[in-house]
Amino acid sequence: MAEIANCQFPEDLYYHGVNNVWARDNGDGTFTVGLTDIAQSLAGSIIHCKLTKQGKEIKKNKSLATVESGKWVGPVKSPFDGLVEEINAAVEATPTLVNKSPYKQGWVVRIRPANAAADLAEMKKGPDAIPVLKAYMEEKGMKECTHCEGFEA
């Protein structure tokens, strides 16, 4: 697990520096996608998480979910073109899972990308991702991550 200013980043994940999401290769042609520790910190305690529909064909950079916190509302933008094979109903029922466990219980959707290689080329994995994530935090003037609901490593 890499760490920048209290922000945690598992090293086996791909990170999209602009959309602020991670992707995990499930090895079966699908990828699990969720919000980064940076994204959950910026949002603050999440009150609603409305997910896209299972079976939907999603376009890259379009919304996989609408996340609403006390101070912010916005989309979770997809890093892939592809088919949404599974959604995590648990985060709709308990949205703070995204805060507490962004990389495990708080995952958002599982996607089967149409062209994973092309989309992964826009993402960085493990140590390569650190400079990108650091630059994003600096751009947002973010000093550190906050784990308002605790943190499950």
Binding site: I47, S63, E68, S69, G70, V73, G74, P75, K77
Partner: protein, 240 residues
């Protein structure tokens, strides 16, 4: 003409751009009700709550607009207009000037033109814009979270903890909701969405906040689709 401010931030912006925005303000249908001439008595400043806390003066607006000082107008348009609380205490002007009304029009011009200052000022209101445009209700009970409304005091935390119970204690059933201020019918939503699209309001949001536009469009598309409308096919009415 240069601005009255020694530290003017927008000297590099072309005069044509400034003039165009100035003309949009003066071209507004309400403009003729806002300014009748100012003799600098300062009553508007004395009554203005924002003037007490910020480097802000409603009198400057009356003066600058009357002088047609386009450069200073542009400085105000990109900064100080967002310091006004829109309380209209300034309308106690003995000449019936309405600096708050001038600022209303200026804010609308800033929003319609997607100025950076408008984007920054409205960022904190994204959730309220989302709520108004997607449901027609404004602040919903579940928005009263301690981190969003610290100025509501320590009771907010206790109330937000048992929100559902509190709401169910209110007699009208339409208020037994925490994610809306009151229940909204689907017919009302359909009408609202058509109004946002046809009046060009949705386009304005697209200019201001791409993420907000994305999620609003999705909500609207789903409801409109179920009711026989395609959002993309609904046309914006010219001149609204």
């Amino acid at each position: 003409m240069s601005s009255i401010y020694a530290d003017a931030k927008y000297q590099d912006v072309s005069q044509e751009t400034k003039q165009s925005l100035f003309d949009q303000v003066k071209g507004d249908m309400r403009w003729h009700t806002t300014l009748y001439g100012c003799y600098e008595c300062g009553i508007c400043v004395a009554s203005c709550p924002s003037a007490r806390f910020y480097d802000f003066s409603p009198r400057v607006y009356a003066q600058i607009m009357a002088r047609e000082d386009v450069s200073t107008f542009y400085e105000l348009l990109n900064d100080s207009i967002w310091d006004c609380s829109q309380c209209f205490s300034c309308t106690r002007c003995p000449r019936q000037n309405n600096p708050g009304g001038i600022i209303t029009i200026m804010r609308e011009v800033a929003v319609k033109n997607g100025l950076e200052s408008a984007k920054t000022a409205l960022k904190a209101y994204s959730r309220i814009i989302y709520k108004v445009m997607s449901t027609g209700t404004q602040v919903s009970p579940d928005m009263l979270q301690p981190d969003f409304f610290p100025d509501w005091g320590p009771d907010v935390a206790a109330v937000s903890h048992n929100l559902n119970t509190w709401r169910r204690a209110i007699p009208p059933e339409t208020l037994h909701t925490t994610s809306l201020a009151w229940d909204v019918s689907e017919q009302t939503q359909v009408e609202l969405y058509l109004i946002w699209k046809m009046t060009g309001n949705l386009e304005i949001i697209e200019n201001l906040d791409e993420g907000l536009f994305m999620i609003l469009s999705e909500v609207m598309e789903e409801v409109l689709d179920d009711n026989g409308y395609q959002l993309d096919d609904v046309e914006v009415i010219d001149g609204v």
